[in-house]
């Protein structure tokens, strides 16, 4: 069940919130237009096409450096193979760019949309430094993430 909650404004935004009451005409028009869009919502799916599709291969990775804080000792340790597999699985799900399967939807008003199917997002990774701080990096692909975390393809497993 989705639960929608409006964002709270910081104290400094109070003035702006009050001011919005004076510009209701635009939201009203937007609502009217949105209703029109809803009525027109009969998008027809067309193929995304393009030449950039990437086939996601199931690679096996192994760790080469410790980066997991141990829950018992607090020490940074090597990830277990199960943890490596879990990380790679999540990177794969978050970072994939499944362009071959994306569907364009033509709208009645001429607009065309493309659902990115959960891909195309930035993934934030962290690895510990010796001084207790964390190095944080935004990546977009499994390969990028694996390199940052010191995960290398494990050919011996295949």
């Amino acid at each position: 069940m989705n639960r929608r909650e409006s964002v709270k404004k910081p104290a400094s935004a109070g003035k702006s919130a009050t001011r919005r009451a004076g510009t209701r005409i635009v939201p009203v028009l937007a609502v009217v237009a949105a209703v029109s869009m809803l009525i027109a919502w009969s998008g027809s799916a067309v193929s995304a096409g393009g030449d950039q599709g990437q086939v996601v291969k199931a690679k096996k990775y192994k760790a080469t450096r410790p980066f997991v804080p141990d829950k018992q000792t607090g020490e940074i340790r090597m990830p277990t193979q199960q943890e490596v597999d879990e990380i790679v699985s999540n990177l794969d799900a978050l970072g994939q760019r499944p362009t071959e399967t994306l569907q364009q939807s033509a709208q009645a008003n001429g607009a065309v949309s493309l659902d990115l199917d959960g891909g195309f997002g930035g993934i934030v990774l962290g690895r510990p430094n010796a001084d207790g701080t964390w190095e944080t990096k935004c990546v977009f692909t499994v390969e990028e993430g694996a390199e940052f975390l010191g995960l290398v393809e494990d050919d011996s497993a295949r």
């Binding site: 404004k9 935004a13 607009a111 949309s113 493309l114 935004c138």
Partner: protein, 563 residues
């Protein structure tokens, strides 16, 4: 509202000197701060709904872990809300789930849209939140706009005050990831160079390669692929970012450049060393010579792992050494001992497709290195080596004429290292930027929650792709930075119904002449006090050259007649 800026002479002495004259043309009505809706898709008891008791921290008043996570999300969204203007709520589909060690979270646009009503560029993808803002309607009302999935495994700092110590500041991470979802990312493939489904995106349209002098949509796939690794030569051409660069980025770009021969001249991508002096300490300019040393077992005469046999030639030059066999610090120590000015270590064949190395110390030799050491790609190292017979002149310097993170023309550089870094290349600012920017790939611990110049350039880039800021009176000042968000914006100063005919100036604070007079009217205890105040104010304007004596008379006369 259209505003024509007209800078005033330096002799203006009032604190609020005139910046501009109101054009007073009916213009776009601000939609107001964008409303962000956090769509919590966690099940009961987990993620945002985790009931684990928590102590309020850093201004986050939540008393459970779930509450604190949600409040941090809401706070990050509110920071963008004050900066961005939209009549269409931005829906962030959000959850906290176990993501595995090292994976902190992810966020990005749910959809992209092209050829929608009011689209600035036809045949161009826009992130859906931006498309909605530009269209003024929710183009995909059944869908959310941004995906956000963060880790329950990771111990984020959940305070709102940036006082995160050694922990990762969730608000900063969210500001970064939300920016990607709002439009700070491109969608062309960095594997093939192909555009997304055959169409460029709004971000592509501002990407310019200074080597081939083309924007990304103008390029072939092969050219885009090459551009993605054209270190230092992919720049953002949007006017807001370019205008912000001088206020954010400081002069002084670490540079490794070949000056001659012309065939290989230019700035090179390089790596730095964890030992020895940093680049620029001192600046080095000189000829490059290949170091020669004894061939050890498994080594070569170019690996620099033993004392150089051509030390007499190397002295006073920049030594060129190949990576491999021994540590970087040992090579640099041998170069130091040979009297080199600096040392360049380029990748060996085994690392032919690798980036220039980040050179670590071996704990022994680094202490003896007194010259700058840099690393290069193998291709660049070989290019230099191939020209040594005709002489190669190079600089390893801090270039004080170029801002760190910008090109020589002052345009912000995008992250374009070799080899390409998945999707991170191009969709971030260059890591060479100084100060650190929110939208570099590394989310640095010194970042603040401020997203615009003079602290950052994220907001400026979002403006370049079509976002505007909340500006109720259309005076060009964001409401939260405007001394009067509802300024009196008549063309001329009108007092008590009397049009003075005197231009109503806009001051750098966001107030107009009429605002100041209205404030005097509100604050004055009586008519005499108001007239006196107006006289004092208008006298100052005359002294500052803002109005003429005749115009002052018109203002003071109208004030005197005002009830």
């Amino acid at each position: 509202m259209h505003i024509t800026h007209r800078f005033q002479p330096a002799r203006l002495r009032t604190a609020a000197f005139a910046l501009a004259v109101l054009g007073l043309v009916a213009g776009t009505v601000s939609a107001g701060p964008a409303q962000f809706v956090i769509v919590n898709i966690n099940a009961a008891g987990v993620g945002f709904n985790d009931p684990t008791p928590a102590t309020p921290v850093g201004g986050n008043p939540g008393t459970t872990l779930g509450e604190q996570r949600l409040i941090a999300f809401q706070y990050a969204a509110s920071l963008w809300s004050t900066r961005l203007d939209s009549s269409v709520p931005i829906r962030i589909r959000a959850q906290f789930t176990p993501l595995g060690a090292g994976v902190l979270g992810s966020a990005g646009p749910v959809s992209v849209v092209r050829d929608f009503p009011n689209a600035p560029l036809s045949g161009t993808w826009y992130h859906v939140a931006l498309a909605n803002k530009l269209a003024g309607i929710d183009l995909l009302p059944a869908n959310d706009d941004i995906n956000a999935n963060f880790s329950t495994n990771f111990n984020f700092y959940l305070g709102l005050d940036s006082n995160h110590g050694t922990l990762n500041d969730l608000v900063t991470v969210l500001l970064h990831e939300f920016a990607h979802g709002l439009g700070f990312s491109q969608n062309a493939s960095l594997t093939t160079g192909a555009l997304l489904a055959g169409f460029p995106d709004h971000y592509n349209s501002k990407l310019f390669d200074t080597t081939v002098n083309k924007f990304w949509p103008q390029m072939t796939s092969a050219e885009r692929l090459a551009s993605a690794t054209n270190f230092g030569h992919v720049v953002w051409t949007g006017s807001y970012v370019t205008a912000g660069v001088p206020n954010v980025l400081s002069f002084g770009t670490p540079t490794v450049a070949v000056n001659s021969p012309v065939s290989i001249a230019g700035a090179y991508q390089f790596g730095t060393a964890a030992f020895g002096p940093a680049i620029g300490h001192p600046n080095v300019a000189g000829n490059v010579e290949a170091a020669v040393d004894a061939v050890e077992i498994g080594g070569t005469s170019t690996d620099g792992c033993s004392p150089f046999t051509n030390a007499g030639t190397i002295a006073g030059k920049i030594a060129l050494v190949e990576r491999g066999l021994c540590g970087f610090a040992q090579k640099a120590r041998n170069a130091t001992d040979a009297g080199a000015l600096a040392v360049i270590i380029y990748n060996q064949a085994a690392n032919v497709n690798a980036a220039p190395a980040a050179m670590g110390d071996d704990g022994v030799n680094g202490a003896f290195v007194t010259i700058p050491a840099v690393s290069l790609r193998r291709a660049d190292g070989l290019a230099i080596a191939g020209q040594l017979s005709v002489g190669v002149s190079a600089n390893i310097v801090i270039d004080l004429t170029v801002r760190a993170g910008a090109d020589p023309l002052g345009r912000a550089r995008l992250y374009a290292p070799f080899p390409v870094v998945g999707g991170s290349s191009i969709s971030h600012y260059d890591t060479i930027a100084s100060r650190n920017l929110l939208m570099e790939p590394a989310i640095n611990p010194d970042l603040t929650h401020r997203v615009k110049a003079p602290d950052d350039l994220t907001f400026e880039l979002l403006r370049d792709v079509g976002w505007t800021f909340p500006d109720a009176d259309g005076d060009g000042f964001a409401d939260d930075e405007d001394c009067n968000a509802h300024s009196i914006t008549t063309a001329t100063i009108v007092i008590g119904g009397i049009d003075t005919g005197v231009p109503n100036h806009l001051f750098e604070t966001g107030c107009t002449s009429s605002d100041l007079i209205a404030a005097l009217h509100s604050g004055a205890g009586n008519h005499g006090g108001f007239v006196s105040g107006v006289a004092h104010l208008s006298d100052g304007w005359v002294a500052d050259g803002l109005i003429s004596g005749r115009e002052k008379g018109a203002i003071q006369s109208a004030a005197a007649k005002n009830d």
